[in-house]
């Protein structure tokens, strides 16, 4: 009976894996000064790091994390990334964005207009997300042909995706960095093709977004 149940669980797991691709993920976090009553009527802005030469934090990943927080607790107001960097142009461009909290404090002292604008937005937390999702090894082969009677493909392809992100939380009230959350996710996607290719995509970036979003929700929201 026990063996039967294990076999069922294995079959179910395999079916789920085959339907959406398999993803494994880990989340590490270290946070201090968590607001016990949530962030009240303050706002939080989530920004992506784009100063590295070989990768950019994807804007849609930053948006996904923001949406995850907003949908998890509607009382947490998240300012849109593009709206924020346009409002504070030219201070948050890839070339000029502050890398340390001290850089931001220097900017606030030097440019009172920036300080006034930040105060008017009631921004208490700034979250910087650094990382990207990359496509790893791929294998397999597929042949497609088109003729007068129609077309089709035959073959099998598989590839892996790796996502690595780190979120750093700056607290304006405490003038301190109050947390770091990192997540990594790896997944294998498949594409079998018998006439029609059927992509079975591993939701690697989505899993990483949920992982980092959940931890940020726990930090920012009083409901979690």
């Amino acid at each position: 009976m026990k063996i039967q149940n294990s076999a069922c669980a294995l079959a179910l797991g395999s079916a789920i894996c085959l339907a959406s691709g398999c993803v494994t993920s880990t989340v590490d976090q270290m946070v201090f000064n968590e607001p016990t009553e949530g962030i009240g009527n303050s706002t939080v802005v989530i920004l992506g790091r784009r100063h590295a030469s070989d990768y950019d934090t994807e804007p849609d990943f930053v948006e996904c994390v923001g949406d995850h927080i907003s949908s998890g607790d509607r009382s947490v107001e998240v300012i849109g990334e593009l709206e924020f960097i346009n409002d504070f142009y030219p201070w948050f461009e890839p070339r000029t964005a502050p890398l340390q909290l001290a850089d931001l404090e220097r900017l606030i002292q030097r440019e009172p207009v920036v300080a006034e604008k930040l105060a008017s937005l009631r921004t208490q937390y700034m979250v910087w997300i650094d990382g990207s999702t990359v496509r790893g090894d791929s294998s397999g082969s597929m042949t497609c042909a088109v003729g007068p009677g129609g077309g089709g493909c035959f073959g099998f392809g598989t590839w892996s995706n790796d996502a690595n992100y780190e979120a750093t939380i700056w607290d304006f009230t405490e003038h301190a960095e109050v947390g770091r959350i990192s997540t990594s996710a790896t997944g294998q996607s498949y594409m079998p093709a018998v006439v029609i290719p059927i992509p079975i995509i591993a939701p690697v970036q989505g899993t990483a977004c949920d992982g980092i979003g959940d931890q940020l929700l726990q930090f920012l929201s009083s409901q979690y």
Partner: protein, 222 residues
């Protein structure tokens, strides 16, 4: 007879169709053209209490970059950035200075122009681009090197310097090469504006000029 009557319009229609197909094929052979379009935000900074003039050379205001295909596999590229350049520079300068005045002609002896504190003349010294077809990297990139001159209305030099700008965008699903090159160009223009707005007061010649105009205390805050 009736057969002939019906066949003549058919032949004309066929000729028209063939002509249209030929035109479409020829259009396909032309360069990939990008007219850079984007929105540029005004800088959030304290304005300098100065009136700056700006002169856009016709070569700058109508700037276009043409790169001929190196092989039959590649396509030629025509990137028209003049209009977006003027739009970006006007927005940035209006956010940095109390007043911005466009010049009537290139500053120089005998040239009548409105009275201003100084005139900025931006020029593009070099523009390069890279697309995934060239580099096998899934990123579209644009580099621009500006030659900037700050002169008096009489054309006497105050400062002369070069400034780099860079923009990149990754490949995206269902995004055309043209849309990606446009986005990379807009990013490069944003970078140019950001670089100029944050480094202008630190350019040696400009620093001295600002000290003369505004005094040491004000300049030290820039």
């Amino acid at each position: 007879m009736s057969g002939l009557m019906t066949s003549v319009p058919d032949a004309r229609a066929l000729l028209r169709l063939a002509g249209a197909l030929l035109l479409a094929l020829l259009a396909g052979c032309g360069p990939a053209e990008v007219v850079v379009k984007g929105n540029f935000p005004a800088p959030t900074m304290e304005k300098l209490p100065l009136t700056i003039g700006v002169w856009y050379d016709p070569g700058f205001a109508n700037h276009e970059f043409y790169d001929e295909a190196k092989s039959k596999k590649d396509s030629s590229w025509l990137v028209k950035s003049g209009e977006a350049q003027v739009q970006m520079w006007n927005t940035v300068l209006n956010g940095m200075f109390a007043r911005v005045v466009p010049m009537v002609g290139q500053p120089g002896p005998g040239q009548m122009n409105p009275s201003v504190d100084a005139v900025l003349i931006p020029q593009i010294a070099e523009l390069q681009y890279a697309i995934p077809a060239h580099t096998n990297v899934k990123v579209y990139e644009i580099w621009i090197r500006y030659h900037l001159q700050l002169v008096t209305t009489g054309g006497d030099p105050i400062a002369d310097w070069t400034m780099p700008a860079y923009g990149k965008t990754p490949t995206a699903f269902l995004q055309t090469d043209q849309a990606a090159v446009n986005l990379a160009a807009v990013m490069a223009l944003r970078d140019a504006g950001a670089n100029f707005a944050t480094s202008f007061a630190r350019v040696p010649g400009v620093q001295t000029w600002l000290q003369q105009r505004l005094g040491n205390g004000r300049e030290a805050n820039l």
